[in-house]
């Protein structure tokens, strides 16, 4: 229906994604609020300062930022009907998103071996649930991108489909933006 006339001149699906993002702000907001409210209240270690790996996370933060660049370039390519470039950049998003996720898997298992589990203390509970739900969002994003990539290879991702890519992109950027916040309040401000 989004090809029909709309009141604000914004396609329904795009507006819907923005509305959904508005709602997601509260979802992550509640998670972050809990993390911060419980900060320093664990009765046993490990504490964030003991365990968080800033260099590693800085790299994955950088990777996720660059995936956002790949995302806009992919959209740009689709709008210009440049399928080759579209494939490259969508592929890029998937690869970068994958690296981020791999970093998270590494981080989680490392923490696990250091004795920080979901059950260990409040820090573990709040940290894993917050970053875990973010990771789940990234995973959904990667699957979504993979779907777009398959469509691209089947030649079904022309400019007429650019809205599909744009909406997926909004989602992807939002997930990136959430990480910007998490990186700051969880990792850097200890």
């Amino acid at each position: 229906m989004s090809t029909h006339a709309t009141t604000f001149g914004v396609p329904h699906r795009k507006m819907a994604m923005w509305v959904f993002i508005g709602s997601e702000c509260m979802f992550f907001g509640s998670l972050i609020a809990t993390y911060l409210s419980y900060k320093g209240k664990s009765v046993v270690g490990p504490t964030p300062a003991e365990i968080l790996n800033i260099p590693l996370t800085s790299v994955s933060t950088f990777v996720l930022l660059m995936s956002s660049l790949a995302m806009v370039l992919a959209l740009d390519a689709v709008q210009r009907d440049d399928t080759r470039q579209a494939k490259i950049w969508i592929g890029g998003v998937i690869v970068l998103g994958g690296i981020f996720l791999a970093g998270q898997v590494y981080e989680f298992s490392h923490f696990y071996h250091e004795g920080l589990t979901l059950q260990q203390n409040l820090f573990g509970s709040t940290f894993f649930v917050l970053t875990g739900f973010h990771g789940a969002h990234v995973t959904v994003g990667v699957i979504w991108m993979a779907t777009l990539l398959v469509m691209a290879f089947r030649g079904r991702l022309g400019p007429e489909r650019s809205l599909d890519v744009e909406v997926a992109g909004l989602y992807w950027h939002f997930v990136d933006v959430v990480w910007i916040v998490i990186f700051t309040v969880v990792y850097l401000i200890q």
């Binding site: 229906m1 329904h12 509640s30 419980y38």
Partner: protein, 628 residues
């Protein structure tokens, strides 16, 4: 009413068709009807639960049910009434009316709409399944941690509660997105925001509140699930956490939720009073902005449910004052409604009775709310029957009366039949009497120190007569509800046929046949007034001498004037909802059903995503051929 078309075209009923056509429908009107019908059924369920509660409390040392059963009853009663009756009944009206009122052929995402309905529907069933394994949730409708922890509540009851709320929450978010976009982005040409009907305005605010409030409870429920399933520490005091966190997360949701429940009624009343007073809503922009303000302030007052928690004087002060502020915009609404009636020529029909009853009763609940808002007073009133009185005045007196007013008002539009006037008014008076008889004595019970959620009380505390009165009242109230239902059934069987515009309405839904054709609008109207139909019927000043008929939105032609293509039915929303519920509910059983549910969900979502909205064989309406 001279301009209203008198001949009703008999379309093939939009409701006829096989069961399969209902399961796969994406028509917002049919989905609305399904929401409404299910909600009215659950009203009986929640009502019967209440009646058992009242029987148990009729006399001291009641022996109708035991302690555990009683705790289950009020928990299910509260949860049912809030999530299975009031929210879906409002959703029914959003579904049916928003597209009609803004001049659209459907909602923005018809299949997502079906998905919302089925997700809610299955979530509601999941909740009630708990009765069948004899482990209904029993920690109250706001399920305070840590009574809900595995340690203190090892059974499945809380799991049913958490999972079904989580699932219904997804439905609410999905429909919140859908209707926000519909109301914002699908308005007919010329319908600026300030020309948007009041009901749609309040509905829009409700959607935004849902979108912002539900995530908080979602997160709270996730923590609870993790605590129960994975032994995390979110609400565990021994680990440094606190159960008070749940109270915050719940009420950050819970307080906006009560405005989610009242604003639809505010919208309905704001439509009905002008129609029956035959003059525009007094101070419409103020009514709109006060609605926005109520919604916005509603996010800043949650801790007024926690004055006894021990947050300290500064927090108590902030939340007391914030709560009191809400009286101002609410008062603005009440006064504008009275202003609307003032100087009108009030037509005394059933919808007006319910609407005025809503205003009268809501004031009582609002004022007792103001008493709660004063933290010191609330130290006495909290968790006493005074609160039970408050909440039923705003829920029953406010929300239910408002929604029933809406049911009476739009019933002819939905069904094509009129309700019985005599029976309607009788049911109103019986309900009005029963309602006050049931809930007013609860104020005294609260003042006399009766705590809520107690299944038994000793003789000699001076509570006997008030409790007995409340129980008698509950049966009077039931009689009233029963009469209301009888009226509905009689109307369906043998009601007088409704004209397109039985009440001389002002908004677009009255411009088309009753019930509306599948495609709603034969021509998408152009709107240049907040009251397009009145403008058309009576001219801008409504002064018969200067009557200029041709302005405004004329009634819809009987047949499409252009080719209208509607979305095809699809069973994927239903399948996706089933998969989601299986995956969620399955967590109580084991990994296998969860994986199966996820698989079904994923398959359904992909089919759905790649299935075009309009496929060969979809409903198509051609000009000048009609639909017979």
């Amino acid at each position: 009413m001279n301009a209203a078309p008198t001949d009703t075209v008999q379309h093939e009923s939009i409701y006829s068709g096989s069961i399969a056509s209902w399961l796969t429908t994406v028509d917002h009107k049919r989905i609305g009807v399904m929401y409404g019908a299910t909600a009215l059924l659950y009203f009986i369920v929640g009502g019967v639960e209440a009646l058992i509660i009242r029987l148990q409390l009729a006399a001291p040392e009641g022996a109708v049910v035991g302690a555990d059963a009683y705790n289950q009853l009020f928990t299910m009663h509260g949860t049912t009434m809030v999530f299975l009756v009031l929210m879906p009944l409002a959703a029914a009206m959003f579904n049916f009316l928003i597209p009609l009122m803004v001049g659209a052929r459907d909602v923005a995402f018809p299949r997502l709409n079906a998905f919302s309905f089925w997700t809610w529907f299955f979530g509601a069933i999941l909740l009630n399944l708990a009765f069948f394994v004899n482990q209904a949730p029993d920690a109250g409708w706001f399920g305070y941690a840590n009574l809900t922890s595995k340690q203190y509540n090892p059974g499945l009851g809380i799991d049913f509660w958490v999972l079904s709320l989580q699932i219904m929450g997804i439905a609410s978010i999905a429909s919140g997105v859908n209707f926000t976009v519909t109301a914002l982005n699908m308005r007919a040409p010329g319908m600026s925001l300030m020309r948007m009907p009041l009901f749609v305005w309040m509905a829009l605010i409700v959607q935004i509140l849902m979108l912002l409030a539900f995530p908080a409870i979602t997160v709270g429920l996730i923590f609870l699930l993790f605590d129960r399933f994975f032994d995390t520490n979110f609400y565990v005091a021994a680990a440094g956490g606190t159960p008070v966190l749940w109270q915050h997360l719940f009420w950050i949701f819970g307080h906006p939720e009560v405005y989610i429940l009242i604003l639809p009624s505010f919208g309905i009343v704001s439509e009905i009073l002008p129609t029956f007073s035959r003059k525009p809503l007094f101070g419409a922009p103020f009514v709109i902005f006060s609605g926005i303000l109520i919604g916005f302030l509603g996010f800043g007052v949650w801790s007024h449910h926690m004055f006894t928690t021990g947050l300290g004087p500064i927090a108590d002060t902030a939340f007391s004052l914030g709560t009191m502020l809400i009286a101002i915009p609410t008062g603005v609404k009440i006064f504008n409604w009275i202003g609307t009636l003032w100087g009108g020529h009030i037509v005394m029909r059933t919808p007006l009775y319910f609407a005025v009853g809503m205003v009268a009763l809501f004031i009582v609940g609002g004022l007792s709310g103001i008493m709660h808002a004063s933290a010191p007073i609330d130290l006495q009133q909290h968790d006493s029957y005074f609160v039970v009185a408050h909440l039923h005045y705003v829920f029953f007196g406010g929300t239910v009366f408002g929604l029933l007013a809406g049911v009476c008002y739009w019933w002819p539009k939905v069904t094509g039949r009129m309700l019985g006037e005599g029976l309607g008014k009788l049911s109103f008076w019986v309900m009005f009497l029963g309602m006050n008889l049931t809930f007013f004595p609860m104020h005294f019970l609260g003042l006399d120190g009766m705590a809520r959620r107690i299944y038994t009380y000793p003789a000699g505390a001076g509570w006997e007569q008030w409790n007995l009165m409340a129980t008698v009242g509950a049966f009077v109230l039931t009689l009233g509800v029963l009469l209301f239902y009888v009226n509905l059934v009689r109307s369906l069987r043998s009601g007088e046929a409704a004209t397109p515009d039985p009440w001389d309405g002002a908004t677009l839904e009255w411009s088309m046949s009753s019930p509306p054709p599948e495609y709603n609008f034969a021509v998408i109207p152009t709107v240049n007034s907040a009251r397009p139909l009145w403008l058309h019927k009576y001219g801008p000043t409504r002064d018969i001498s200067t009557h200029t008929r041709e302005d405004g939105t004329p009634p819809q032609p009987d047949h499409p004037v252009e080719r209208i293509e509607l979305p095809s039915p699809s069973h994927w929303p239903l399948v996706a909802a089933a998969g989601l519920t299986l995956a969620g509910g399955g967590t109580m059983v084991g990994l296998l059903p969860v994986l199966a549910g996820v698989a079904v969900l994923v398959v359904a979502v992909y089919w759905w995503a790649f299935q075009p909205l309009e496929r060969p064989g979809n409903p198509i309406f051609e000009p000048a051929r009609g639909t017979e």
